[in-house]
C-alpha cells in the first residue's frame, strides 16, 4: 500500500482515498464538520485545512498521494481552526445554554476541542426564519452552518428535501415543497436527512431530553475520540471522492 506522512506518522492509503479518509481509517483525527464518511466530500467548512507539502489544502477533498508531507497538528492550524469555528458561531445565532442540542452538538464540541473560550469576532445576530410547520421535525435556521449534510443525505434518499439558496452571507437553507415549508415536504422523522444535522438546525421533536444533559455524546468523550469511534468503522470501503 502507498503511504504518506501525517504529522510524522506513516499513513497507508488505497488509491482513490482522500487524505481525510486515509487519516480516519488509520485512527488519526483531522477536525471536520461538513465531512461525513457516508457522503461525497463537500469541502466547505474548511476545518480540515491541513498543510500539504507547504501549501494549504482541504484534507476531505484532496486525494492522497504517495510521499505527501501532511501537517495537521500544528499550533498554527489549531489557531486557524479556532478562528473558523468562531466565525461559524458569530454568523449565526448560537446560544448553547438555550439549545436542546447542547452536549450533542459538533460545533460546540469543536469549540471544546480547540480550546475556544470566546467568539472573538463581532456577532452578526442575523434574523433567520424558524420553520415549525412539521409535526416531528424542527428547522431552526439560526443554527445552520451550511454544511449541506442534510442536502446530501436527502438527495441520497431520493427526496431532495433541502437545498441552499441565496449567496454569500445571505445563504439560507430552503425546502423543496410547494409552500417552501418543512411541514409540506416529504421529510419523515425516520429519514437520515432528519437526523444528520451536526448542529441544532434540524432536530427531531420530542426527543431532545431523552438523554439527559451530562450523559450526551460529547459529555462522555471529546469530538476527536467520538468521531474516530463512529466514523472509522464506516470507512471499510475504499470509495473515492465523487465530483458532484
Amino acid at each position: 500500500m502507498p503511504e504518506f506522512l501525517l504529522d510524522g506518522r506513516s499513513v497507508p492509503f488505497e488509491p482513490g482515498q482522500t487524505v481525510m479518509e486515509a487519516a480516519i481509517a488509520a485512527g488519526i483525527y483531522i477536525p471536520h464538520l461538513c465531512w461525513h464518511p457516508a457522503f461525497e466530500p463537500h469541502g466547505s467548512c474548511k476545518l480540515c485545512t491541513v498543510d500539504i507539502d507547504g501549501r494549504p489544502a482541504s484534507a476531505c477533498t484532496r486525494p492522497a498521494e504517495a510521499g505527501m508531507q501532511v501537517t495537521s497538528g500544528s499550533e498554527a492550524l489549531r489557531r486557524l481552526r479556532l478562528r473558523l469555528t468562531q466565525m461559524l458561531f458569530v454568523e449565526g445565532n448560537h446560544f448553547c445554554p438555550s439549545c436542546e442540542k447542547s452536549g450533542d452538538c459538533e460545533l460546540q464540541a469543536m469549540g471544546y476541542y480547540l480550546g475556544m473560550t470566546d467568539n472573538h469576532y463581532p456577532h452578526f445576530y442575523p434574523r433567520r426564519e424558524l420553520d415549525a410547520s412539521h409535526p416531528d421535525i424542527l428547522l431552526d435556521r439560526d443554527r445552520c452552518i451550511f454544511c449541506e449534510l442534510c442536502v446530501r443525505a436527502s438527495r441520497k434518499e431520493g427526496k431532495s428535501v433541502f437545498a441552499l439558496a441565496g449567496r454569500g452571507p445571505q445563504t439560507r437553507l430552503v425546502i423543496n415543497s410547494p409552500s417552501g415549508r418543512l411541514g409540506d415536504s416529504e421529510l419523515d422523522a425516520g429519514d437520515e436527512a432528519a437526523g444528520i444535522c451536526p448542529v441544532g438546525a434540524i432536530v427531531r421533536r420530542n426527543t431532545a431530553y431523552r438523554v439527559p444533559i451530562g450523559q450526551r455524546r460529547y459529555d462522555l468523550a471529546g469530538i476527536d475520540e467520538e468521531s474516530l469511534a463512529r466514523e472509522r468503522p464506516l470507512l471499510g470501503r475504499a470509495d473515492g471522492p465523487t465530483e458532484d
Partner: protein
C-alpha cells in the same frame, strides 16, 4: 399581463429544457414578469427535472434573478469606485428623489426599482446604469431627469433615445493584436495543414499564457485536455467581472471572428464538438450580435458539421448568458453555471482539463487568450514573441479608468512599466493604481517602475488610476463591500471573512476603528488567503492588506483614540401614548 406560469411555459417552449438553457428560461421569465414567483419556479422545476428548492437555489444565487418582482423598469447603477468618482451617488439620489422610490426598493405601484450592482464594465464611459439589462453609459443629471420622465410616462425602452444605448469602443492605443485585420477561416485552413500537433506546437512555441491573470500556459491546457479520454468541450470565459475591466466588451465586438476561430482551433486540437461562450449578463447587449456572427460562420462552413469540408471536423458553439455573479469568472464556478446550477466553485483536483463540463475534459480560456491563439496560428509564434518579456510573451490589453485624461483600452507589450502607462493615459500624479482590479495589487508611487507582467504585476487587464485627492482607505472599503457582496457563501473563511472585513472597514471609515481593528484586518487577510476555497477568497483581502502596507498613515488618521462608540438606539417615539391592547 399573462400570468407567471404561462410566461414560464412559453419560455420553456422557446428555449427547451436542456440544462444549459435554465438560465435563459429564468432570464426570460424575469424580463417579462419582472420576477420569478414560486408558481413559475414549479413549472420550470418540473420541465427541467429539478426540485423547486434547487431552482429557488439557482435564482437566489444570481444578482439579476429575483423571486420578488422588481420594477417594470428595473434600474441598476454600476457600483464601482470609478463610477462613484464620476458622481454616481448624486445621480442615484437624484433619480430616486424624482421617482419617489427608495434605493433598493420597488415603488409601490411596481413601476420602477432602483438599486446598485457590481461594476458593469463601462468605467471608461461612466457613470453607467442598466435598465432592464440594457446599458446606458455617460449619465449626467440632465439625462437622469429625462429618464425619470420617460419612466413616469411609461415609455417602452424602444422609444428611448437610441443614442443613449450606444457604447463607444474606447480603443485608445491599439497594438499588434488589435491592428491586424481579421481573416475569417484563414487560421483554420492553416490548422488543417499543420494538424492538431502542429497547432499545439506553434502555440507552445509562442509561450502564450492565459490572459485572465493566472497565466497558465495555454498549450499545456489544450494538450492535457486533448490527452484526456472521452468527449471534450471548449469554453470561453467572457464573464469579465473584475471591477475596472472592460476590454472583453470590445474584443467581443471587434474581434468576434478571431475569438470564435480561436475556440474552433481549440476544438480542432482537442477534438471537442461542442463549445460554449459564457457571456456576463452585464454584456447582454452584445448577445444579439454574437448570435448573428455565430450563425454567419455556420453558413460559411466555419462552424457546425464538416468545417471547411474536412470530414469529422465538427464543432458548434452556443452562447450562455450569466446572471450576475462575479464568482462565475472562476472557471469551475462558470462550468456549474453553464450546467444550470448555483455558480459555486468546485473542488479541485480534478481540474476542468480532465473533468469539466458534465465531468468531461474541458478547455476554459478567456476571450483575449483565444484571440491571441488565433493570431499566433495565423502569424506565427515569432510574430508573437517579438513583444513582451521572456516569461510574459506578447501584448496585454489594459482597461484604463479613473483619474486620467484618456481612459480606454490600451494594447501594450508585456513588460511595460506602470509609469509609462500612466504617461500614456495622462494620469498626472496619482496616489496609487489598482492593477488587476481589486483581486490584483494596489500600488503606490514608489512602485511605478514595476512592470505589467506575470512575473511582476500580473493582471487580467484592469488598471484603475486614483488621483492625488483620493483616499485609499475609502477605496479599499468599497472593494471590501464588493467582495462581501460577491462571495458565493460556500466556504466559511470567505463567507464570514468578507463580511467581517466589510464591517471592520466600515468601522474604520466611520472613525470608530482602533489599532486592534487594524491587526484584526491583517489576521483576517491571512486566514482568507490560507483557507478559502477559491481565488475569490484568496484575493478578497488584497485591497485592504495592500493599502494597509502602503498607506498606514491614511489608516492611522481614521482611528479614534477611545474605544468603539456604540450607537444608542433611537428613543422610542410616542412612548407615552397609550395604545389599545390587541384583543
Amino acid at each position: 399581463m399573462p400570468d407567471a406560469t404561462e410566461i414560464a411555459r412559453d419560455a420553456i417552449a422557446r428555449h427547451g429544457t436542456a440544462p444549459v438553457q435554465l438560465l435563459a428560461v429564468l432570464h426570460e421569465i424575469q424580463r417579462r414578469y419582472h420576477g420569478i414567483p414560486r408558481a413559475a419556479m414549479e413549472v420550470v422545476a418540473r420541465a427541467f427535472g429539478r426540485s423547486v428548492a434547487e431552482v429557488e437555489g439557482v435564482i437566489g444565487f444570481y444578482s439579476f434573478l429575483h423571486e420578488r418582482p422588481h420594477g417594470e423598469y428595473a434600474i441598476s447603477f454600476s457600483d464601482c469606485p470609478v463610477d462613484r468618482f464620476l458622481g454616481q451617488d448624486e445621480l442615484i439620489e437624484r433619480l430616486c428623489r424624482q421617482l419617489g422610490v427608495a434605493p433598493g426598493q420597488v415603488r409601490d405601484d411596481g413601476r420602477v426599482s432602483v438599486e446598485t450592482t457590481s461594476c458593469t464594465g463601462l468605467c471608461d464611459q461612466g457613470p453607467a446604469l442598466l435598465v432592464n439589462g440594457r446599458a446606458i453609459p455617460a449619465l449626467d443629471p440632465g439625462r437622469i431627469d429625462t429618464i425619470a420622465g420617460l419612466i413616469e410616462q411609461r415609455r417602452p425602452l424602444e422609444q428611448w433615445p437610441g443614442a443613449w444605448f450606444r457604447v463607444e469602443h474606447g480603443i485608445r492605443h491599439p497594438g499588434p493584436l488589435l491592428e491586424a485585420p481579421e481573416q475569417p477561416g484563414k487560421a483554420l485552413e492553416l490548422a488543417l495543414e499543420l494538424g492538431p500537433a502542429g497547432v499545439l506546437e506553434r502555440i507552445e512555441r509562442s509561450g502564450l499564457r492565459g490572459r485572465g491573470g493566472a497565466g497558465y500556459p495555454t498549450a499545456l491546457k489544450w494538450r492535457y485536455c486533448r490527452e484526456a479520454p472521452g468527449e471534450h468541450h471548449v469554453v470561453c470565459n467572457a464573464d469579465e467581472g473584475e471591477p475596472g475591466t472592460f476590454k472583453d466588451r470590445e474584443l467581443l465586438r471587434l474581434r468576434t471572428g478571431d475569438l470564435v476561430e480561436g475556440m474552433t482551433l481549440a476544438a480542432f486540437v482537442t477534438g471537442a464538438r461542442e463549445g460554449f461562450l459564457y457571456l456576463r449578463a452585464e454584456y447582454g447587449f452584445l448577445a444579439a450580435e454574437l448570435e448573428q456572427h455565430i450563425a454567419e460562420r455556420r453558413s460559411a462552413g466555419l462552424l457546425g458539421h464538416t468545417i471547411l469540408g474536412r470530414e469529422g471536423f465538427d464543432f458548434d458553439l452556443h452562447l450562455v448568458t450569466g446572471a450576475g455573479a462575479y464568482v462565475c469568472g472562476e472557471e469551475s464556478a462558470l462550468l456549474n453555471s453553464i450546467e444550470g446550477r448555483r455558480g459555486t466553485p468546485r473542488n479541485r483536483p480534478p481540474y476542468p482539463v480532465t473533468a469539466g463540463l458534465w465531468g468531461r475534459p474541458t478547455v476554459v480560456n478567456n476571450v483575449e487568450s483565444y484571440i491571441a491563439a488565433c493570431r499566433i496560428v495565423l502569424q506565427g509564434a515569432e510574430w508573437f514573441t517579438r513583444h513582451g518579456t521572456e516569461r510574459s510573451r506578447g501584448t496585454k490589453l489594459l482597461s484604463i479608468s479613473g483619474d486620467c485624461a484618456r481612459p480606454g483600452i490600451y494594447e501594450l507589450p508585456f513588460g511595460t512599466p506602470v509609469g509609462e502607462v500612466l504617461e500614456l493615459c495622462d494620469a498626472g500624479e496619482p496616489v496609487g493604481v489598482q492593477v488587476g482590479g481589486p483581486s490584483g495589487t494596489f500600488i503606490a508611487p514608489p512602485e511605478f517602475a514595476r512592470r505589467i507582467a506575470y512575473e511582476d504585476l500580473s493582471t487580467g487587464g484592469a488598471f484603475m488610476v486614483f488621483g492625488p485627492d483620493r483616499d485609499p482607505v475609502a477605496i479599499a472599503a468599497q472593494f471590501s463591500h464588493f467582495f462581501a457582496h460577491e462571495s458565493c457563501g460556500f466556504c466559511t473563511p470567505c463567507r464570514v471573512g468578507t463580511a467581517l472585513q466589510q464591517r471592520l472597514m466600515e468601522r474604520i471609515c466611520g472613525g470608530r476603528g482602533t489599532v486592534a481593528d487594524l491587526q484584526e484586518l491583517e489576521q483576517l487577510a491571512g486566514l482568507m488567503r490560507q483557507a478559502s476555497h477559491c481565488g475569490l477568497g484568496h484575493t478578497a483581502a488584497n485591497p485592504v492588506s495592500d493599502t494597509l502596507a502602503r498607506y498606514p498613515e491614511y489608516y492611522q488618521a481614521r482611528l479614534q483614540g477611545a474605544a468603539l462608540q456604540p450607537q444608542p438606539g433611537r428613543p422610542p417615539a410616542d412612548s407615552r401614548k397609550e395604545v389599545a391592547r390587541d384583543a
